[in-house]
């Protein structure tokens, strides 16, 4: 036996498991306003510190401070707050619908509403979004009809996707929302390709894509960063670090060794790490990256530091793998509460108006849901025409599919 220490295998574990007290002591939080805001034409090498810092605008008293404050007018802030309230009300209703057996599956974005809504506000309406399954807020903020989203969740006769997709995998070219894939990460490099095409055509539209912290472990993540860097693609690459990939904590994806934003540095991309529960910070970071992309300066990687308050999906029970009250103690708070507090601090909002806006959102969802349920829910009521099952496999139906459709008798 050689006189050497024996090797040992490390498997990372989160600081707390069910039964433990939640422990966020390892999280280092910059004060709001503390992180510098470089010019949009800064060289990636010169802003590498931002990949390790945390851009925050809203302080604990609801004040917007520091160089990243986008200084949005009160009306815009109120619209954003209402979009977040609507997204949460929509999620709650659809979650209940799944529990009532009206659909097979649902995924909430509770606690992460600012990530999608702020992006929708910071991007142009015709920029193309390549979302993952927790960016329903993009559609809601862009005014896509709730009824249509519900018809898709219920796979009923008015489902725009003809009953083919899992409930949360929306698609709308008209609203700049690329069809969601269940294979994680695949759309990250596709967004880069779309952005390359936009640049090739001399267009002025940019692309943006979102993936979770767990998905950064996929090869497609690295393809996306590399291609975006090589071809200076006008794209914003967002990593939503919500701490959990189903039951695996962010350390399993590599998040303990370095920040996810820091992955951009090796590819020569500017990388920002932002408080994902701070609407203003997400807005400001996205606007910075969008302006950069539109100025032919290429891609930006943004890590949104947030927390997945609910389970991964309706098929998941988070109490099996993390402390039951961990979400409540998340140190960056709730994005809706924080924007509300900000508007109140500005004298542009009140608790009463918040209650009223909440009621309005719930009512709006209820009305749309009634209409959607009247058409049908999964397996009940009016379904999409069965013959459409054979359509859209190819542009024109080939002979073998025509025969199979005939065999089915439709």
């Amino acid at each position: 036996m050689k006189n050497r220490a024996r090797l040992s295998l490390r498997v990372p574990t989160p600081p707390a498991r069910p039964g433990d007290a939640p422990d966020f002591s390892a999280i280092k939080l910059e004060a709001a306003g503390e992180v510098r805001r470089p010019e949009i034409d800064a060289r990636p090498h010169d802003v590498s510190d931002l990949a390790y810092a945390l851009i925050r605008v809203l302080d604990d008293k609801g004040r917007a401070v520091g160089p990243w404050n986008p200084k949005l007018d009160a009306e815009t802030l109120r619209r954003a707050l209402k979009a977040m309230l609507l997204t949460r009300a929509y999620d709650d209703r659809m979650y209940r619908a799944q529990r009532q057996g009206k659909t097979s599956f649902y995924m909430k974005c509770t606690g992460e509403e600012a990530v999608a809504i702020a992006a929708a506000f910071a991007l142009e309406r015709d920029d193309m979004c390549f979302p993952s399954y927790r960016q329903q807020g993009l559609l809601i903020a862009r005014g896509y009809p709730l009824l249509q989203m519900m018809n898709q969740v219920y796979s009923n006769a008015h489902d725009p996707l003809k009953g083919r997709q899992l409930p949360i995998m929306y698609s709308s070219k008209a609203y700049g929302f690329f069809t969601v894939s269940g294979n994680l990460g695949t759309q990250f490099p596709q967004a880069v390709g779309w952005a390359m095409a936009s640049a090739y055509k001399g267009d002025d539209r940019i692309a943006a894509s979102w993936i979770g912290d767990g998905t950064t472990a996929e090869g497609d993540f690295h393809h996306a960063l590399n291609f975006a860097s090589v071809y200076r693609a006008p794209v914003i690459l967002n990593v939503v670090n919500n701490q959990w990939a189903i039951s695996s904590f962010a350390g399993i994806a590599g998040g303990n060794e370095s920040t996810f934003a820091s992955r951009g540095i090796g590819y020569g991309l500017p990388a920002l790490r932002v408080d994902g529960n701070d609407f203003l910070a997400v807005y400001a970071a996205t606007a910075w990256a969008a302006e950069r992309a539109r100025s032919n300066l290429g891609a930006t990687l943004i890590e949104h530091y947030t927390y997945r308050v609910e389970g991964h999906s309706t098929s998941d029970d988070p109490s099996r793998y993390r402390p039951i009250n961990e979400a409540k103690l998340w140190p960056l708070g709730d994005p809706i509460e924080r924007l509300k507090d900000h508007l109140i601090a500005l004298g542009e909002w009140s608790e009463d108006r918040q209650q009223e806006a909440h009621r309005e959102a719930v009512e709006q969802v209820k009305t749309a849901n009634k209409e959607a349920e009247a058409v049908g829910t999964l397996g009940h009521g009016e379904l999409p025409s069965l013959k459409t099952m054979f359509e859209d496999v190819f542009k024109d139906m080939p002979e073998h599919l025509r025969r199979q459709r005939q065999q089915m008798g439709v």
């Binding site: 193309m128 390549f130 725009p160 996707l161 003809k162 083919r164 997709q165 995998m169 698609s171 709308s172 070219k173 690329f178 069809t179 894939s181 294979n183 695949t186 759309q187 990250f188 490099p189 596709q190 967004a191 880069v192 390709g193 779309w194 952005a195 390359m196 095409a197 936009s198 090739y200 055509k201 692309a207 090869g219 497609d220 690295h222 393809h223 996306a224 590399n226 291609f227 090589v230 359509e391 859209d392 496999v393 190819f394 542009k395 080939p398 002979e399 073998h400």
Partner: protein, 337 residues
């Protein structure tokens, strides 16, 4: 009409389409300045510019993903994967994404892309440069799979593939790049210039996807083949002394079922030839299809002559390769049954 080998014909197809349609562009590893390791994109960057024909990182998944994104934008990208053996890192992007984009978005988004890649054995490429993965793609709903066997078809099919609104896997039999090959490794090399199939028009024309070609008419037995094996089938037909009908499938999906069924109903016998491994190969699909449609006309069991169920062995390439000896034996078995 100029004589072109398959490489020149493919180059001409890309040149024609780059000239015709500004939405066409082509890229891949070593494709740009160098013109591709097989020279298929030779001179295209110089003629059409850096943004129309360019090099990519060695990342097949990224190449295909970028093509999908470009297709969704409205371009018609032609991506080259340097060898079919390297297509597997892009497999998820091809089968889970490109193939299903139209379906899952109800026609809202599409991927009108072509993925070109050299495939097949016969050049001593060992097991990392010789595979025939066509069955992996034909099994996937939403992909078209095209395999030419002559320079004329290669150009016409590639132009049709680029103009097609669905994702197309375009497998190029690299043993045929410079000339046809009949499966006899010791025979003198033939070049396309001496054959009618090497006559390729300079300009635009298409060979439609989904149409097989009866390359040799006959009444005894039908041989179904594609790519390099089409030429092995033709050599076997001659050397067997039988009256063989030889069909070049040209596209595996969509498949020209009618031409196959009509031929087998006429001859009553069917021999299927492909280079890919036997088990679950495309021959199994063809065999089942013939059985389903021609059972009462069959006078002999359907024969499959294929590669063995091993990876491609470098030193034993000619023993692996389904050459004429094995095809002729199968033809004779079919006739004796």
């Amino acid at each position: 009409m100029p004589a072109m080998n398959m490489i020149q014909a493919l180059n001409s197809a890309l040149d024609v389409m780059l000239t015709k349609d500004p939405n066409v562009l082509t890229f891949g590893e070593d494709v740009g300045y160098f013109g591709g390791v097989f020279r298929v994109t030779d001179g295209l960057q110089k003629k059409h510019g850096l943004t129309r024909c360019f090099d990519t990182p060695i990342g097949e998944g990224g190449i295909v993903a970028a093509a999908i994104g470009m297709g969704a934008y409205g371009l018609r990208p032609v991506a080259e994967i340097q060898f079919a053996d390297y297509i597997y890192p892009a497999y998820d992007q091809i089968v889970s994404e490109a193939a299903r984009l139209r379906y899952r978005s109800a026609g809202d988004f599409t991927a009108p892309i072509v993925i070109r890649t050299p495939y097949g054995g016969g050049i001593f490429g060992g097991q990392t440069h010789s595979q025939s993965p066509e069955a992996l793609f034909t099994h996937v709903a939403g992909l078209k799979t095209v395999i030419p066997s002559t320079p004329y078809d290669a150009k016409g099919l590639l132009i049709a593939a680029i103009e097609d609104d669905d994702p197309v896997i375009f497998l190029e039999p690299k043993r045929l790049y410079n000339g046809p090959f009949d499966g006899y490794p010791d025979r003198p090399v033939t070049i396309w210039a001496k054959l009618p199939a090497g006559e390729v028009p300079e300009g635009y024309y298409t060979v439609p996807l989904g149409k097989a070609s009866i390359v040799r008419a006959g009444g005894d037995v039908t041989i179904l083949a594609y790519g390099t094996m089409l030429h092995v089938a033709l050599a076997s037909a001659v050397d067997s002394g039988l009256d063989c009908e030889v069909i070049d499938l040209r596209t595996l999906v969509p498949l020209d079922i009618e031409t196959i069924v009509n031929s087998v109903k006429k001859t009553g016998r069917c021999v299927i030839v492909h280079e890919a491994t036997h088990t679950s190969g495309y021959g199994a699909e063809l065999s089942a299809l013939v059985q389903e449609n021609c059972f009462h006309h069959l006078e002999a069991p359907i024969e499959r002559v294929t590669g063995w169920d091993t990876p491609y062995p470098h030193a034993f390439e000619w023993q692996y390769f389904p050459g004429p000896a094995r095809v002729i034996a199968a033809l004779q078995r079919a006739m004796e049954a």
